[in-house]
Amino acid sequence: MKVKKEHIRNFSIIAHIDHGKSTLADRLLELTETVAKRDMQQQILDNMDIEKERGITIKARAVTLHYKASDGKDYELNLIDTPGHVDFNYEVSRSLAACEGAVLIVDATQGVEAQTLANTYLALDHDLELVPVVNKIDLPAADPDRVCADVEEIIGLDCSIAPRVSAKTGENVAEVLEKIVEYIPCPEGDDDAPFKALVFDSVYDNYKGVIVYVRVMDGVLRPGDTMKMMATGAQFTVVEVGRMGATSLESTSELKAGEVGYITASIKSVVDARVGDTVTKADEPADEPLPGYKKVNPMVFCGIYPADGADYESLREALEKLQLNDAALSFEPETSGALGFGFRCGFLGLLHLEIIQERLEREYDLDLVSTVPSVVYKIHLSDGTVVDIDNPTNYPDPAIIDFVEEPIADAHIYSPSEYVGTIMDLCQDRRGIFKNMDYISGDRVDIHYILPLNEIIYDFFDALKSRTRGYASFDYELKGYERSNLVKLDVLLNGDIIDALSYIIHSEKAYPRARKIAEKLKDNIPRQMFEIPVQIAIGGKVIARETIKAMRKDVLAKCYGGDITRKKKLLEKQKEGKKRMRQFGTVEVPQEAFMAILKLDGQD
């Protein structure tokens, strides 16, 4: 029988990026003395350096707060943090599914933004009770009345209960805890029913194996039980269960219905305990899993190669380690004539890609070269078969292609109305199809566009930010596939195709892009002993060409006074430089040339 767990509240905090989610979470931890002041590092929930630097939460984390409310009762508040970026929408949705309510933070100086809305809709999809909170009231530009009116008008949420706080100074933050207790419903569950728990996060730990974060719906789980993952079928003996303190895990004897906690069971990889899966017991399984599980599929792919071929094994080990903790990261070995041995890696989106690259370089000290990111194209061949292509190198001969489909995204851009013109220019330039535009409040608009995914994965967000001085925000989701007129651009140096630089592009954009690539290569490849023709071709047809003139002289160091050392050092330097060069037939291309092509901005 389902009973109410009166003393528990399970909630998330949702907000647009930079509206103060992590800071508020910190204050709540402090206030409930979950973290002693002296242990308080800024933004405890964001464990990774990159998270702290970018001010975003990449992985969800959870923590249990103990709070004595003004009604005199003790409550257990489980805060489930959510990632704050569209690339991680699925993880957000699983975190929300573990809650009964959410605190919606709105910045008193900014108002409703793209992710405020996107996250609100997600929360409403999960029938969550929302507690609005107006943050940053300490700032001079704060206008809480206007922001409340905004929220009521756009979201239709009653803001009369909304605490007006400053997470930074701590002002009024206690009010948030009171509202959580008051407005967010307690969980219900049946302790006697078969065990059923939702995995909303899983993290690999060197000592314990995978730590599975769950919200228990029904039943009880104890150490020694045999647990079973309903989607993957994998079974494990439970080693430990417990609750999450802010700085450490606290083991307990059991996990019961309504509770949020963790399970360890010597699980080797997060792939065996994917977010969204349902945990049950092997000997007394639940009838059916919780709804909503899906295996997330990478949307963006690129080749990642070690700059020094000798680092191939280290790169593989690093990717394996990252994958232990990131079920959405995929990789498989790939060989490029240009770049040697490396990996084709799949990511949820561009941010995910950047984070992985940065972690590989920073945490594993690897020097990397990566290829242009690509989406997955569906190529319909003349013989009726359909192939998925995520690597331009594998693009079939145009002669045997019937037609090609590319992924299309449904995109919403939220911006002050003064930037509408420039945003539309950008979207039109990116082959966008305008759907509609809503004024969401006096001077803010929601511009709805259909955009090809390959136009937004690379630099769209940067371009948007620079055109709107950072004021616009952006949200998208994959809509499906549409037929499109695409071609593959090949780069030829001295007549040889450089596979790593091949590029799939809409035919209308092929010519200007080809010219730009040719120019960039000419500027970035140093003169060599022989003249090098640079050609950009579609199929066999060259559509742009440049020539890198032959080098006539290199540094003629004197061998004065028998100083051979100097001469030798110069040659050593030349050798070092050579190492950073990629050899293509007779042509040497420095890494910088690759970077220049990859960073080809649509605007310059």
Partner: protein, 371 residues
């Protein structure tokens, strides 16, 4: 030009009356060379002699070339030069018909007397730091005096009985052009000197030129290449041999001392920043005159004389290298260079052309990468 295993001696005289704006050699501002420094050179020679006696060499080291470089060796007083030469004969076995070179600044004071007494001390070759015959270019290069000074210096040398004269020419200097280089070369030819050293200007870090690079009007890279190729062609036409990347001579007038550097023969350098190659070991004194005067030891710089070094050094000369016993990829690269006019292959002999000299760094590192 047969290779000799006799040793060459180099003395660095690191003093100048002013620093030239392009120069990054080790030198200090001074009107003359202090005696203290001369004594430390003598001490170092004695130390070397003692050391070689200790390792059981009973006879003195045979020496057939001596070279005074700088800095400005013509700042030595006649007495100082004489003392050094006496000490050389004391510590080393100076062979018959040695080549003894002194670098001179054409505008050093009392050059006439200096050359007369130098000649008496045994000096039989001088190298004059002319750089250019154009007064405009010379001023830009910080060289005192006009081209007439160079004429005078050549005259004084000949009066002193020194016929083996080399002129330094610098290619690609500010405000220069193909035609001004031709004038400088014509000037050299008119003086009938048997040797010309021609270095390309390289803007070295730490020099005045480096700091003021944006204010220099330099010929373009293409122009400099054209100048170099023209020079090689023009001097060859006038009876010179382009015997090393930066050196031209009339038959029999190559710098015997410098050839030691390129042919792997032993040499000993005395003075701060002077380099040595002896017993297959390379060593040098640091760029610190005080350390040298204190008698601090030379710094060991590793083994030398291996095949890699041989390729690197020999390819600087007109003798080139032998393709015998080289790998097939080495030979293939060599042939590719020949095909493109960077080198000539005669039988088994691989020699760089003037066009090849210009890109010798790349050619050498390419060849070494497949060696």
């Amino acid at each position: 030009m047969d290779r000799t295993d006799k040793t060459g001696l180099y003395f660095h005289i690191p003093f100048c009356r002013g620093k030239c704006p392009y120069c990054d050699f080790y030198s200090l501002n001074a009107k003359s060379c202090p005696d203290e420094y001369v004594f430390s050179l003598l001490d170092e020679m004695k130390t070397f002699k003692r050391m070689s006696e200790l390792v059981g060499k009973d006879s003195k080291i045979a020496v057939d070339t001596i070279y005074f470089g700088g800095g400005t060796p013509s700042l030595l007083s006649p007495t100082q030069l004489d003392i050094i030469m006496d000490s050389v004969r004391e510590s080393f076995n100076v062979c018959e018909e040695p080549e003894i070179t002194v670098e001179c600044n054409p505008s050093s004071p009392n050059l006439e007397e200096f050359l007369l007494s130098a000649s008496k001390s045994g000096v039989n070759r001088i190298s004059l730091g002319m750089q250019s015959s154009s007064d405009k270019e010379r001023r830009k290069l910080g060289r005192q005096g006009n081209a007439k000074k160079v004429e005078d210096a050549v005259y004084y040398a000949r009066m002193a009985g020194i016929e083996n004269i080399s002129l330094d020419v610098m290619v690609g200097v500010p405000e220069s052009s193909l035609s001004s280089l031709r004038e400088t070369l014509d000037f050299c030819l008119s003086l009938s000197v048997p040797h010309i050293s021609a270095y390309m200007l390289k803007i070295e870090e730490g020099t005045f030129y480096y700091k003021n690079a944006d204010k220099l009007t330099l010929p373009s890279e293409d122009e400099v290449c054209d100048m170099y190729l023209f020079m090689s062609h023009y001097l060859k036409e006038n009876g010179f041999l382009h015997y090393e990347i930066s050196n031209f001579c009339k038959e029999g007038f190559h710098s015997r001392h410098n050839m030691k550097y390129w042919e792997g023969a032993p040499y000993l350098g005395f003075g701060p920043a002077a380099h040595s190659f002896y017993n297959n070991k390379r060593f040098y004194f640091p760029r610190d005159i005080d350390a040298f005067i204190r008698g601090e030891k030379a710094i060991y710089d590793g083994e030398g004389g291996d095949t890699e070094e041989e390729i690197l050094l020999h390819l600087r000369t007109y003798k080139g290298i032998s393709l015998e016993n080289k790998s097939s990829s080495f030979i293939n690269k060599a042939k590719l260079f020949e095909k493109n006019g960077f080198a000539e292959i005669t039988g088994n002999n691989f020699v760089l052309t003037s066009k090849g000299f210009l890109v010798s760094n790349t050619i050498i590192s390419e060849l070494l990468s497949v060696y």
